[in-house]
């Protein structure tokens, strides 16, 4: 059985997940966790992915505080107890 990781949802997306701020999901990679999230909450698909099925470029994903683009992107492995964060990217400067 796959490990469970926590997924932190920003306020702007919570209406798609019954108002929850944090979900527990199974998966061995960030991509698998994301797929599980989209299966359980299909209205998120159009928000998190672009028309080509790629991750929306205004969304960043982090595993334990590290941007997955510095890891192995959606192939980044995750294990029991890891934390995945979904954070909009348009801030700062």
């Amino acid at each position: 059985m796959a490990d469970k990781v926590s997924v932190r949802i920003p306020t702007v997306l919570r209406s798609h997940v019954d108002g929850q701020a944090k979900l527990e999901l199974a998966g061995g990679t960030v991509g698998e966790v994301l797929a599980g999230l989209l299966d359980a909450h299909p209205t998120l698909r159009g928000r998190l992915l672009d028309d080509q099925g790629e991750l929306n470029r205004f969304i960043n994903l982090y595993v334990n505080d590290e941007d997955i683009r510095f890891l192995e992107n959606l192939e980044t492995p995750v294990k029991e107890g890891d934390s995945v964060m979904i954070v909009p990217s348009i801030a700062g400067g």
Partner: protein, 430 residues
């Protein structure tokens, strides 16, 4: 009275009311303030602007505030310096320095964006403001919020220069150092803005905040005698100011205040943090984030929010990009100080060093007009000069002691290379 129509998503065009909001609900794209340009074109004239205050608020018609400004009443309208000695040294005809290191009250371009953001924050009814900062914004938010009677919460990377920490703390904000780099601080601030009901200027007030950066571009055009420089070289950190200078130029063209003569915008970054320049060189608009490693900490943002827009503007305007090593940056800081008496921080050295590279590679022709945008002051980052400047002799207060020093060390001669300058006479006749 304002000319603001509302907010518009830069990606999908979705429209929003004027409210504290950083992004589009539909696609997460950034939001841009939309104006009624038809009404603006009937109102805004050169004369109307020239009759305004000697501050960034002379461009108030083109800024997203409703009532009287309450912050930055003396900010902006910084010097545009015709840099003749530096031009001679570089072998170019017409060179200008737009010096926001002289901005009031905190000596960086950030006084512009904060003036607009805090005026808007007060209009929205906020009492607490905040920011994620590489230092200059911290300094500016702390100062302007003190003067506006607002509370401030400021987050910075844990290892910033002491001048930026002291220059912030003196105004009495709640300052928090975060273990990590700016991009870590920024992510945390995005989550804080999501959770606490504060006005984080570069998160949920970002559409208004960034509009303040246009005033740097408006001033260049007005101070140049209502025309645009053929080349504007701009530092890129979060990528905010570069597209806004372009927007300022486009708005002035659209309102008939300046001629459209094909102004090119060029991007400058430190070699230790150059995701935007790398993307420009690779011909893509999707940059790869970097872990910054440069002395130019004020522009050390490896994951720039407006990176894609900076890349697009450079490409649309026919500009280019260049990055500079730490040594090149410090040499350029010295060169600017010793030719034009402008002491900038490493970000400014980066911009000048990149300009020199663009001139030497022919991407900026020597006979065209050039404006270098200096966005911060060197007195805040004096530690970067450690070991670079000569030791200072100490003598007794006796004339004999001074005579002896002169005999030992030779006649008075400034550092730098002023002897090389007169040779290039005749190049400034354009």
């Amino acid at each position: 009275m304002s000319f603001v129509r509302g907010l518009e998503c830069k990606e999908c065009g979705a429209a929003y009311e004027v409210e504290p909001r950083m992004m589009c609900d539909a696609c997460f794209g950034p939001l841009e303030v939309a104006y009624d340009y038809e009404a603006l074109s009937k109102t805004v004239t050169r004369e109307r602007i020239e009759a305004g205050p000697a501050s960034l608020w002379r461009y108030r018609d083109l800024l997203p505030v409703e009532g009287e400004p309450v912050a930055g009443l003396r900010s902006g309208f910084t010097p545009l310096v015709r840099a003749e000695r530096l031009a001679s040294k570089l072998g170019v005809r017409e060179l200008y320095i737009k010096d926001d290191g002289a901005n009031y009250p905190t000596f960086s371009y950030k006084d512009r964006v904060v003036a607009v953001a805090l005026t808007r924050a007060v209009e929205f009814g906020f009492e607490t403001v905040g920011c994620a900062s590489t230092g200059n914004l911290a300094h500016s938010v702390a100062a302007h919020s003190a003067a506006a009677g607002l509370r401030s919460v400021i987050l910075i990377p844990h290892d910033l220069e002491e001048g930026k920490v002291v220059g912030t703390l003196i105004f009495g904000p709640r300052l928090v150092k975060v273990r990590g780099n700016y991009d870590d601080v920024n992510r945390l601030c995005t989550q804080i803005a999501d959770q606490y009901g504060w006005a984080i200027v570069n998160v949920n007030l970002r559409p208004y905040y960034t509009e303040g950066a246009k005033t740097h571009g408006f001033e260049i055009a007005e101070q140049l005698g209502w025309r645009l420089p053929q080349h504007t070289v701009v530092p890129v950190a979060g990528g905010t100011i570069l597209p806004k200078i372009w927007k300022a130029y486009r708005e002035f063209v659209q309102l008939g205040l300046v001629e459209d003569e094909g102004a090119k915008i060029h991007a400058a970054q430190a070699a230790g943090c150059d995701p935007v320049v790398k993307a420009i060189e690779a011909g893509t608009d999707r940059f790869r984030p970097q872990k910054p490693n440069t002395i130019a900490r004020s522009i050390a943002i490896g994951n720039p929010a407006d990176g894609p827009y900076a890349i697009r503007v450079v490409s649309d305007s026919g500009g280019s990009g260049a990055s500079a090593t730490d040594d090149e940056i410090l040499e350029a800081v010295e060169l600017l100080a010793r030719t034009e008496a402008i002491f900038t921080e490493p970000a400014g050295g980066t911009t000048l060093a990149a300009t020199i590279k663009l001139i030497e590679s022919g991407r900026i022709p020597r006979d065209e007009s050039i404006c270098v945008c200096i966005t911060g002051n060197g007195l805040k980052t004096i530690e970067v000069q450690d070991g670079r400047l000569p030791p200072v002799p100490v003598i007794d207060a006796r004339l004999e002691a001074f005579d002896e020093l002169i005999q030992r060390e030779g006649a008075v001669e400034n550092q730098g290379a002023p002897e090389a300058l007169p040779a290039a006479s005749g190049r400034q006749d354009g």
